[in-house]
Symmetry: C2
Subunit: 428 residues, 2 copies
């Protein structure tokens, strides 16, 4: 924990006049205050900026705290401005606030609104910070060199596709493409047979930087607005055939699904942890190293993956949990290191840009963030409680990611969830 980042908005004793915010297990108590974009169900209005509180959404513009700026403009403010806005929202929603009467009219039930991608995502970069994932997957793709020589030096990343990003509830057709069996002379075309998910966090950029002006490691956190859950759907058979030499492309860009609420870096302040490299590992180069990053660079967030097959849904059976992992145990690079590395060559980040963490797998085999890892490349299918087996995802499967933070002395906050459903391939 990093107490110098804490302020009255984190006070565990703070309570809201929105009573649903304090139901046990609620993701959105007054200590959280995540941002999203909403409009009333069935409306064709422009999406508005909202803050989740309990089972309600606060229409931020209706509170008078912001003007007609859009989410990206709001995200582009300085960290100090964001902290002031957070303090004002917290004060207005707190028990005893004189805003209660006015702001009650700015609330809508979450069940009555449609949400959308929380901001305009200009560029999406996906990193590869999960070292246990990199090692396990590397051993499947390259048995001779599971962890490449650059991994412990370079926060490996690549550009992803922004147009196909959706939010929780996204449904997509199983992708088709070229694949080549190891013993085949030529590739074949058809629906992917090795469709997978990837458990990730998405970091959303706040204030950007000008082209040619790197962001130092000390300043990097100030440029992050917050986090979402991210499912980086992956077609492993398409990936294996296409990825050399320029990286994954059609194996990834058919869909990427985010949770709709951005939990701010400010809300995560009580859940920071020291960041240390395992003994014997090389230390990061100086541009990626700073005392602040060592002291509190890590995030203490629990992530879970759940699966509900079509058969389970029809039988009324709840989703079954496949994985539970703490981000602290999975990520080899911090969010600040990603920002600094991304800009060290002068590349410019813009408000709303998305940085994926890469698949977050813990050190234990049952903490893996993808089926590729859980089933050892499809060789050991997992058995579900209803007797079904899965090597990879099947049509009708719904995959759910959840995330939350819990710690002694702090109020639990949640990242909500992101679900997505696989539909049969085009013409399939």
């Amino acid at each position: 924990m990093n107490p110098d980042r804490l302020d009255p908005t984190h006070d565990p004793a703070l309570r809201s006049w929105v009573s649903s915010a304090h139901v046990p297990g609620c993701d959105f108590p007054i200590q959280n205050l995540p941002f999203g974009r909403f409009r009333p169900f069935g409306s064709s209005e422009a999406f508005r900026i909202g803050v989740a509180i309990g089972d309600q959404v606060l229409d931020l513009r209706a509170t008078g705290l912001i003007g007609d700026e859009d989410m990206n403009a709001l995200m582009g403010h300085t960290r100090e401005a964001r902290q002031r806005l957070r303090a004002a929202i917290s004060a207005g929603l707190a028990q005893g606030s004189d805003r209660q009467a006015a702001w009650s009219k700015a609330l809508l039930p979450q069940s009555a609104v449609e949400l959308t991608v929380p901001c305009r995502i200009g560029d999406y970069t996906d990193f590869y910070t999960g070292i246990h994932h990199a090692r396990t997957v590397g051993s499947l793709f390259r048995p001779d060199a599971p962890l490449l020589p650059n991994y412990q030096w370079v926060p490996i990343g690549y550009h992803g596709r922004a147009s196909s990003i959706g939010i929780s509830g996204q449904r997509f057709k199983r992708p088709q493409g070229q694949t080549k069996a190891a013993d085949a002379k030529e590739p074949a075309f058809g629906p992917s047979k090795r469709l997978d998910y990837e458990l990730e966090l998405g970091f959303l950029v706040g204030q950007g930087n000008a082209l040619g002006q790197p962001i130092s490691i000390e300043q990097a956190e100030a440029h992050l607005f917050g986090v979402t859950l991210l499912n980086d759907w992956s077609a492993r058979d398409i990936q294996a055939w296409e990825y050399q030499p320029l990286g994954p492309f059609l194996s990834k860009n058919f869909a990427t699904t985010l949770s709709p609420w951005i939990v701010t870096m400010e809300a995560l302040a009580p859940f920071r942890a020291p960041f240390e490299r395992p003994a014997g590992d090389p230390q990061p180069l100086p541009y990626l190293d700073a005392p602040s990053n060592r002291a509190a660079g890590a995030l203490d967030i629990i992530l879970e993956v759940l699966l509900q097959t079509a058969k389970m849904r029809e039988a009324g059976e709840a989703p079954v949990r496949l994985t539970r992992v703490n981000v602290r145990d999975a990520a080899y690079w911090t969010a600040a290191q990603l920002v600094t590395h991304h800009t060290v060559n002068g590349c410019n980040l813009q408000p709303g840009d998305l940085l994926g963490s890469g698949t977050l797998s813990g050190p234990r085999p049952d903490e893996a963030g993808s089926l590729l890892e859980l089933t050892l490349g499809g060789k050991q299918p997992i058995e579900l409680p209803n007797g079904e087996r899965r090597s990879f995802l099947e049509d009708g499967d719904t995959l759910i990611l959840r995330g939350f933070c819990e710690r002694e002395g702090a109020v639990r906050i949640g990242l909500g969830e992101v679900s997505g459903t696989v539909e049969p391939a085009q013409g399939g």
Copy 2:
């Protein structure tokens, strides 16, 4: 040539009342009519849609042919709507038009306007269609496997960075980053020592597709709006260390430079050519093959690369040509194949998306589209007329790409040019 695509706007006898359009060697005769975005120099107005004619810009909205739509909206129209717009612009600019008096007031000299990136680029994908480039570079990075087994089957591509795209005149600082010498134990940090350009075409998407709805090879060309020149600046030493396993990242995303005028697919109609694979090569899979693509999939465009060093500039010496290549001889995949491949998995393209061709090198060593190739990985520096030598780009170098189409029976049209200049590294 594909005569069924020709219409009265291509008539070689057609002349404009804008007299500069018919100066010999002019890139923008009335048969061209490329689109860009401009505003008067020194103004802070919003950029407007313009059409280049001779040395003038036609303010399209001032002609009354369009309303207040932006460039991306205009690009998203159907091909038929675009053809109607082109016909109307051509008729109004033609000698004898009754619009001459009114439209004369809608003209501004190109020397009096500021241009910008011609549209809002949501996503940028860079392909790798230059087979001679792929083979030469492959032999430098992987002597044992220059052309990977997927190359002749998969139109290899990867996602690029949209935020750092600029237009002709872009200046950028030499990127810094991690590099590792082959004999070094650990990587080092510093300015790139192997900075290079890449000669490419950029295809701009017109009408998009919905997520999950692939674009067939027969329909693909209708979804392209036009082309620009593209310089995909590359830091080879950063690339060599970072690119495994997810592809190039910081080695590319510090800057990408486009020519400011989009030459439409309609303007290129007289310069189409049959597209045939060399005898003995595998045929493309059926989803990438169509009679229309074989009949006229290729583009007959001449590209040139020129270099002007700081010393040459100071001495008043003109840029020197490094390369001249015809796209026909360089590209292993057609633009239609890129569109179809990109969407076959359901990925959605949007108006204004950019598809880079990848480096276009001809079969002859002196037709190479990068210094990496011309100097064999820096081993054989090129000598310039003033006695300077270059293995890679040095600070102060200005690199210029030009493109044009010439053919018996057609009026020459040009793509204009794109220049960019390397500044010293941050703090360097």
